[in-house]
């Protein structure tokens, strides 16, 4: 072994490995598109009656969450009521808009599709992308089960679920330390659990609670009303579940940036992901 080869072998080197299958990449980006429009048109629909209730009907005097316009010293303000506690949220919730052009609205114009108030068009956007979301989600689940992607890459192993290991992962995540070598080829247990919760719990919950709000579908599946405790509860759970998905996306994006923006983006576009290997691993990675 020459001296040059030794230095090369000890310095880590980047090798591209294949990370995401085409089906995963395509369904991921369709999902990004669909969820973006579903969220923004959903906020447009929410704005038509920016109040949420529990149970089968609306008790108008007692929403658990409401965004209203009010007046203080002759000036319009936005007020958000959460479990009876009032917060001033002018400019964000309840009252927003450019100076002099403010209007009462739950969520501000930049968060809704279309930006102006239009429930009919918001519903058009919502149900169009709801179909895209459902068909894309079904395609993802079928392909991921057939290719064993779900079972092989996303299902945590028993060793990963050991409390000591989970704790270790939480600590290294909090320090934003991510593996660069062989270990980066596999999802860690926190990734696996959060992806599974989103894929198998939150996204299906969006569909199920959405259908529970449909008076037509109610007649075919009254059990959904019982499952979620009524149509207004379903509307609340739809909102909460959407909020949790937004939270997931925020953390997901932070993690993408923290663990290498371009490497992650490339892997979700071309499928190729760079890992660092030393001399011995390189041959293994090249196979």
């Amino acid at each position: 072994m020459t001296a040059a080869a030794t230095t090369r072998a000890t310095r880590p080197e980047k090798v591209l490995v294949s990370r995401h299958a085409a089906a995963t990449r395509i369904t991921h980006w369709i999902n990004v598109l669909a969820l973006t429009f579903l969220l923004m048109s959903g906020l447009q629909i929410f704005n038509a009656h920016p109040a949420l209730y529990w149970g089968m009907k609306s008790v108008f005097a007692h929403p658990w969450l409401a965004m209203d316009a009010a007046e203080r010293a002759g000036q319009p303000i936005g007020v958000t009521t959460l479990f009876g506690h009032k917060f001033e949220t002018t400019g964000l919730f309840g009252w927003s808009g450019k100076p002099g052009l403010g209007e009462p609205r739950g969520f501000p114009a930049w968060a809704t599709v279309p930006s102006y108030r239009d429930l009919a068009d918001g519903r058009r956007w919502h149900f169009f992308f709801a179909w895209l979301f459902v068909l894309n989600g079904v395609a993802y689940l079928v392909l991921s089960l057939l290719s064993r992607h779900l079972q092989r890459d996303l299902w945590p192993t028993r060793a990963q679920l050991a409390p000591a290991h989970v704790w270790h992962e939480i600590v290294t995540h909090a320090r934003l330390k991510f593996p660069k070598g062989e270990a980066a080829k596999r999802y860690n247990v926190l990734q696996k659990l959060s992806y599974l919760v989103v894929i198998l719990v939150l996204l299906p919950l969006m569909l199920a609670t959405g259908l529970t709000m449909s008076p037509g579908f109610n007649a075919a599946a009254t059990w959904l009303l019982d499952l979620f405790g009524g149509r207004q509860s379903a509307r609340s759970i739809h909102f909460i579940s959407a909020s949790l998905i937004v939270l997931f996306v925020v953390v997901h994006l932070v993690m993408v940036v923290a663990s290498g923006t371009w490497n992650n983006l490339r892997s979700m576009i071309t499928g190729r992901y760079a890992i660092e290997v030393d001399g011995e691993d390189r041959q293994g990675a090249a196979r």
Binding site: M56, S58, F60, R124, F217, A219
Partner: protein, 262 residues
């Protein structure tokens, strides 16, 4: 060390400006796509899919959930017209609907004009159901009314009748050509559904003006705007393209779905 800080602030300002203009572009694009006839048509195509799939998976006679008297909303919210100012209607209110008659015509063998007493004598149904406004809220009320199915049998639909159009006494929008008049239309699946009634009672009282006196439609598997209030005339038609702006209802003419099962 001012240079790096300035560079940093500069970059931040640049990023903020880029972010704001991207967001502005995005919103403008979405608004354009909403208004462009082609993309609006693509978005609208989902309605047909939703209607067909729901008609496929929901049995024609499957009932909407019914509730108990304890579930009735004390704060049932009236919406749309709540006190029509149209002179003919105001006259009916003054006379207690004594001269009011429901006209049934169009593609029927025997056109009818039924008084409130005659309507009350027809096969009736009582139901405690949930009213879902397109805005998102729900109220629960008890309704009693004449079942639409037997009423249509009485008039005898001609074979080419496909829809029932309901003309209402209230104009929700001022217009010279009559397109501001409220109207609705339902297909025969909904017309013959056992829970579809012309309600003349709400919560065991005569239907109040705010909720559509003397009668309103209850079509329980669809959203509130389909439940036409102040109904004056039923017309059996083959097609509703020639009525008002042609979309089958006041709100449909203003962008809302004809099939309001979701």
């Amino acid at each position: 060390m001012t240079a790096p800080i300035a560079a940093h602030a500069n970059r931040r300002r640049w990023l903020a400006a880029a972010g704001a203009s991207l967001a502005g572009l995005w919103l403008a694009a979405c608004n354009k796509l909403t208004e462009n006839p082609t993309s609006a048509g693509v978005l609208r195509s989902a309605e047909g899919l939703t209607r067909r799939v729901q008609r496929l998976v929901v049995d024609r006679t499957a009932l909407a959930r019914e509730f108990t008297p304890a579930d009735i909303s004390p704060d049932f919210r009236p919406n749309g017209s709540i006190n029509p100012q149209d002179p003919a209607y105001q006259n009916h209110v003054r006379t207690g609907f004594a001269d009011w008659k429901l006209v049934v015509d169009g593609l029927v063998e025997r056109p009818l004009a039924l008084s409130l007493a005659e309507l009350r004598a027809l096969p009736a149904r009582s139901q405690i159901t949930r009213h879902d406004c397109v805005e998102g809220w729900s109220s629960i009320g008890k309704w009693k009314g004449a079942r639409l199915g037997p009423l249509l049998e009485k008039a005898g639909l001609k074979p080419n009748a496909r829809y029932i159009v309901l003309y209402c006494a209230d104009s929700l929008e001022q217009s010279l050509d009559g397109t501001g008049q409220y109207y609705e239309s339902i297909d025969l699946i909904d017309a013959y559904h056992p829970q579809t009634i012309l309600a003349y009672e709400m919560n065991d009282q005569p239907l109040p003006v705010a909720h559509g006196a003397p009668i309103r439609l209850r079509v329980e598997r669809q959203l509130g705007y389909k439940h036409a209030k102040y109904v004056m005339r039923l017309q059996a038609v083959e097609d509703f393209a020639h009525i008002a702006r042609g979309k089958g209802g006041f709100w449909e003419d203003r962008g809302y779905e004809w099939y309001a099962g979701i």
